[in-house]
Amino acid sequence: QATKLIFEMSRPGRRAHHLPSLPESAEAISELLPADVLADEPPPLPEVAEGDVVRHFVNLSTLNMSVDTHFYPLGSCTMKYNPKRNERMASLAGIGDVHPLQRDGTVGGVLQMMYELQDMLGEISGLPGVSLQPAAGAHGELTALLVAAAYFNERGESQRTVVLTADSAHGTNPASAQMAGFSTKAVKSNADGLVDLEDLKSKLNDETAVFMLTNPNTLGLFDSQVGEIADLVHEAGGLIYLDGANMNAILGIARPGDFGADLMHFNPHKTFSGPHGGGGPGAGPICVRDFLADYLPGPVVVRDGDGYRCQAPSKSIGRVRSFFGNVGVLVRAYIYIRTYGKEGLRKVSEDAVLGANYLLSKVRHILDVPHGDRCMHEFVASAKRLKKDKHLTAMDIAKRLLDYGFHAPTVYFPLVVEEAVMVEPTETESKETLDAFAQALFRITEESGDLIDEAPHSTKISRPDDVAAARKPILKWSEGE
């Protein structure tokens, strides 16, 4: 039943939602709107009963693995526990139901939270200029690069058209640079998985605008050269952008602003427990150095006497989305930061690092881990040897783990590791869960044959045909198909 589409449940005339009668004083639609704009009939949406809708979407939901139901060690995504208090408070009347164009005097409570959040993110990052507007991490990258471009423009350095990205970087980095009008060059990783300084040096020149760095990087390693990297880039007249995807490793331990970053984004849905929502919404607030703050997109919240008000920075690059920002997500981040407070955020990162290292200490006896026996909040193992010896690929491991009741790690990323298996346990999983996961991984490496090749076995579907999907795309339901 769950695999029926809602359209296939439709019956002409069946209904769920009802409206009151139109006011008696109302004129007919045909009097109010010209005939030529009117459709002959409304769109062909499904016609179902309320009970249909509920059963359909409840049953569909149970086909998902989620943090609420399963260990979800998806590397780079920080699938930590999503606190239920965040959900409750974010939807309070007066928070969840405020119109975005209400003026400051009618929305002081929200503005106060957003103001305080700006402050807190400035403190956590060490970068005091904050814009909460970007809607996602990638959006924050783009926005920050537009800020950098505006800054260079104003300085008369519009020749700075190149953005450097690490070869281990998230794909969003080069794509964002491209959208912001930059060309990109990749900087190599060295054998230790860190930035190859010589390669970096060779690519720095007066065309360099920004070096986009992820630190800890996507291998889960803190690049200890970061101070030197920042000096090199700054000496070359460029700026350092920090991809904040991995901030869960260093809260209260090291601040991007202190180790040389000039701009960065946060992923509140990762670091600050905003739920991932099946793919979103996230948010991508950015933090920048003082001298870049005037370029931030508006509005930002400023103090105004006893109250707060929205204002565009003086040299703002302009808006990057409608209205203020993803307030619903940001409120959750606010609640999260307030919950841990000054005592707790460092502990979050410590436990995230501890959990990852603990799991690493188990996994390195099962899979090869090319880059060291210590990590920050995640690590990248490789199934390269298993693939060669036993035809057991990273994908096989991922699929078979599903049968053991675990979501798969990220696989085949970062690209610099062959048959990569990227594991991020987060601080909100128990030692018992990590032990069970390591044990499952071990068992899988002992398995073979159909058990592996046809995994997963326990799921509703198994190994969908991606190639067919892309070759002849079916992107919507059609009657009779």
């Binding site: 062909p44 794909g171 969003t172 959208m179 996230g282 601080e427």
Partner: protein
Amino acid sequence: MKGYLFHTDDDRREMLRSIGAESIDEIIDGQVPQALQMQRPLDLPPAADEMSLEAELRSLAAKNCSVASHICFMGAGAYDHFIPAVVDEMASRGEYYTSYTPYQAEVSQGNLQVMFEYETMVSQISGLDVSNASLYDGGSAATEAVLMALASVKKRHKVVTSDAVHPQYLEILRSYLVGIEAELVVVESDESGCSDPLIDAIDDETACVLIQHPNFFGRLEQVQKIADTAHEKGALVIQSFDPISVGLLKRPGDLGVDIAVAEGQSLGNPLAYGGPYLGIIACRKELMRRMPGRIAGQTIDRRGNRCWVLTLQTREQHIRREKATSNICSNQTLLALRATVYLSLLGPQGLKETAEHCVVKANLARDRFAASERFELVHSGPVFKEFLVRDREADVTGLMRRAAAEGVLAGVPVSDVAEGACGGRYDDCFLVAVTEKRTETELDRLMAVLDAAQVGDSVHLAETV
């Protein structure tokens, strides 16, 4: 330690033993150079327990007017439509909101099927072939559509639009176009509040035309005519539409539009001071591979069962990196779910009736303004659910403030939407939006409050709300 940590001190000791480390500091010091570490605790408020924090948040929330405490006539791109309880309950299931992008299709069929159903419904309401799984919001979706068009129509760089498009959407467009070879032409709308003048601005250099229908003023555009002209000139047409409006109005695809975008907030998503919202985009099949963002598609699995996967990923940044169609990585699945549940509940008839309520009640409100002494209707032609009112006393801000103190969010001053919106022509005007939620009693209340307001009435909102 307040919060959500699991490890007891015993756990930590055992874990360190397995790692072979003396302490967590040792692990960190081994990787993060001391010189780069913070030498002080973070300067943040102290940790707060749930009970105290909730009490604080409740008192902050109480400082805000809201559509629960106030009668809301504010619109301008975000609307107080009714959200059925089913929508909230479905979206509050942990299996939806605590899962992530369906990288493992086998354990994500729930989200994938929702995406596929969402895409189908977007296709149904837009009248176009293909939708993605959502974008950030209506404003950035309009810009993404322009970028799509610029990439599709080779060697043309002109983007023609009008100031009857949401002023913030135009601001976003300006911000994004900085990095790209493009010329933005914003034509002034005519006295009737329509964009007919932009027809003359469409030329052989034009890559695309961006219009909004119903437009920022609530007025209806000559979409078909604009589209015909654009197509004659070889340009693509992008329409930003109101997803509620197509309960009555012809759909973008029916009007010859190539790419349709919309703000999906209206479809069961809370106002939330502006976000997260839902960017809807749909296009003709030919443009499919230029579409940004995630797309779910149908396929079969190993066992031959119909199922759903993310597809056409070769457009995306994680594969194509700098050559991707866009940098977008996440999407708004949870809001797309809400829209899907919402549209399932409404069905064709519910959507139609909702649209009827908007039209009918907006016109009842309009009649009341027309009859008032202080106010003037700026445009006279038909509107959908919103219309522009001029305050002859030119005290729009004072008026809104006074109304808020009386429990009414009376409208949106044009100048609040964006600085210099519409060239300042409407700085003495405000938009009034009327959704199906409003009752005749509330319309009367609106007029009573506005009529009672005196120019220069000084209200300190901090005291009154």
